[in-house]
């Protein structure tokens, strides 16, 4: 059990919030989690998928519904085709007549809400559940609904794929990254996904050539460089230090940072992930990370498209600015490298809207606990997890997790 430590939440690396936390001496731990298998068209309703992961996560934690103090769900009215989409998730998430709320973004942000609920001192056990089913909604319509309705949306040119392609174009030009390097990232992650039993898409023996030969979408993006939007749910149980004392192998939330960037056409340039950099800086400050490339032993990144992983290497300080391609070429981020990235296959293996970021947190915690089965990396004590929401990674959240 680590000694109590000052803990605070900040959305920026400097500023008055950073003085906070003087009266807070609590910590938050991940004590259990569960994922469904991610599928193109799950043979279950979203309610049954949420029930499956909630029951499994509670069982893994050795807890009952009665032990849950607060429940935060991540889901989306548009994706679920109903307003207040968390309403019918009350039953399967064990939230009936309990303290329940919803975050309409990725589950990694719902986790932030749950972390702050525990840090308030009012709650000891929190459940975070995230879900969506791409087989239910018009898969690429939500991306269009994110656009400015008075201009971009009506022009019907931008969508998740074309917007990402524009960002890739801008980044390739600025950093001198090649399409082969971007395809290489996809090949790495799809190869990793072959060892992850819950991943949807994988490709044994993947290489850049096969990725480049897949269906062209918007240059430079081909189908295998784009994450497959799909069905699934995942759940995470968080505990206060007091409650975690009884848990086996708790994984501690060492730091969290988050930041929100401009709408994609208003950033000045799309060639970097500015808000991810700010999120990482705030997170590292809390977690005592001053040399991320050597202190972080594994990272799970929410790369909706392959080039985003290269951009994230830079924003997270794994390498210098504009060196994402060279860092990838060094082999550091392969399984067996010095800083393996997306050993689960990442979002390229399966991208459940609202859940893919929380999945990264779960995968990072699995690695620290030695729970990752065939894709386990030995001896991981400190890992990073990243979640994002919005077009061209507009909003980002970063966690650093650590074992005992």
């Amino acid at each position: 059990m680590p000694a109590p430590r000052t803990y605070w939440i900040s959305s920026r690396p400097t500023g008055r919030w950073d003085k906070g936390g003087d009266n807070v001496d609590k910590e938050v731990a991940i004590i259990a989690y569960a994922q469904t298998k991610y599928e193109a068209d799950a043979n279950a309703s979203r309610e049954l998928q949420v029930l499956e992961v909630t029951v499994a996560a509670l069982k893994a934690a050795g807890l009952k519904r009665e032990d849950l103090d607060t429940i935060i769900t991540a889901n989306n009215d548009y994706l679920d085709g109903r307003t207040i989409s968390n309403m019918r998730l009350v039953e399967p998430s064990g939230a009936w007549r309990k303290n329940e709320s919803k975050v309409e973004m990725d589950g990694a942000f719902a986790m932030l809400y749950a972390v702050t609920r525990i840090l308030s001192g009012d709650h000891d056990i929190a459940l975070v559940v995230a879900e969506s089913q791409a087989s239910v909604y018009g898969t690429y319509l939500p991306g269009i609904m994110m656009l400015d309705p008075t201009f971009d949306r009506q022009r019907w040119l931008l969508n998740e794929v074309s917007a990402a392609a524009l960002q890739a174009s801008s980044y390739m030009d600025a950093a001198g990254v090649s399409v082969e390097q971007i395809a290489g990232v996809a090949a790495k992650n799809l190869e990793n996904a072959a060892l992850n039993p819950v991943a949807l898409r994988s490709l044994k023996g993947a290489d850049a050539k096969k990725v480049l030969a897949s269906r062209p979408l918007c240059s430079p993006i081909t189908e295998l460089m784009a994450s497959p939007l799909c069905d699934g749910a995942c759940a995470l149980v968080l505990a206060s230090a007091k409650a975690a004392a009884k848990a086996e192998k708790p994984v501690w939330v060492k730091g969290v940072g988050f930041s929100h960037d401009s709408y994609l056409t208003e950033r000045g340039s799309l060639d970097n992930m500015g808000s991810l950099k700010l999120a990482a800086e705030a997170c590292y400050k809390q977690a005592g990370i001053d040399d991320p490339a050597s202190q972080i032993e594994l990272a799970e990144l929410h790369e909706c498209f392959a080039h985003e992983e290269l951009m994230a290497y830079e924003a997270l300080g794994f390498c210098d600015p504009m060196q994402g391609g060279a860092f990838f070429d060094s082999g550091a981020t392969k399984k067996g490298g010095e800083l393996p990235v997306n050993t689960s296959g990442g979002a390229l293996g399966a991208n459940v809207a609202c859940a893919a970021g929380l999945t990264r947190v779960i995968e990072a915690a699995m690695q620290i606990r030695g729970d990752a089965g065939k894709h386990q990396v030995k001896g991981v004590k400190t890992a990073l997890a990243h979640g994002q929401t919005g077009l061209c990674a507009q909003e980002n959240i970063v966690y650093v997790l650590g074992g005992e």
């Binding site: 068209d41 018009g138 898969t139 319509l141 931008l158 969508n159 074309s162 240059s219 430079p220 799309l270």
Partner: protein
């Protein structure tokens, strides 16, 4: 449910959800579109930092102030990013192949600090390319007033 649990897919029903939102484009966008009808490209300018937005924005997120100044911009600009799209999103949300690929670019007008995403009439587009707006002042649909860009010169 009818289907045997774990064996058959759940029955599926297509239930329409077609809410219509009657947004106002706002005074700023209305002025922008009206100006295009006169062949003028108007951007909004932050009174504090001078940042010029095209399309116009009513609030500067950096200075946290309302933007009320206007500036007329030239039709010329530079490609910041471009892609050749082989697919588009169909009305049902699927990605479907386009009959012919089309080039989409992010163009930063000379004098502007933000970008417009638009169709580019060029087969060999590249970042840094100089382009000019194709303005059709007589277009019936305001979206067609500034529908595309073409290489300069």
């Amino acid at each position: 449910m009818g289907a045997k649990a774990g064996k058959d897919p759940v029955p599926r029903a297509s239930i329409p959800l077609n809410p219509v939102f009657n947004w106002s484009v706002g005074n700023w966008m209305e002025y922008f579109y009206d100006s295009l009808k006169e062949g003028k490209i108007m951007g909004s300018k932050c009174p504090a930092c001078g940042r010029v937005s095209l399309p116009p924005r009513m609030i500067c997120e950096r200075c946290f102030v309302k933007v009320e100044d206007w500036v007329e911009l030239p039709a010329t600009g530079t490609v910041q990013a471009c892609t050749t799209a082989s697919v588009k999103v169909a009305e049902n949300g699927d990605l479907v192949d386009l009959e012919a690929p089309e080039v989409i670019a992010m163009v930063k007008h000379d004098g502007a600090d933000t970008c417009i995403a638009a169709r580019l009439e060029s087969k060999d587009a590249s970042v840094g390319m100089r382009v000019e707006a194709v303005i059709d002042a007589g277009a019936a649909n305001v979206l067609d007033l500034l529908a595309a860009y073409r290489p300069l010169g």
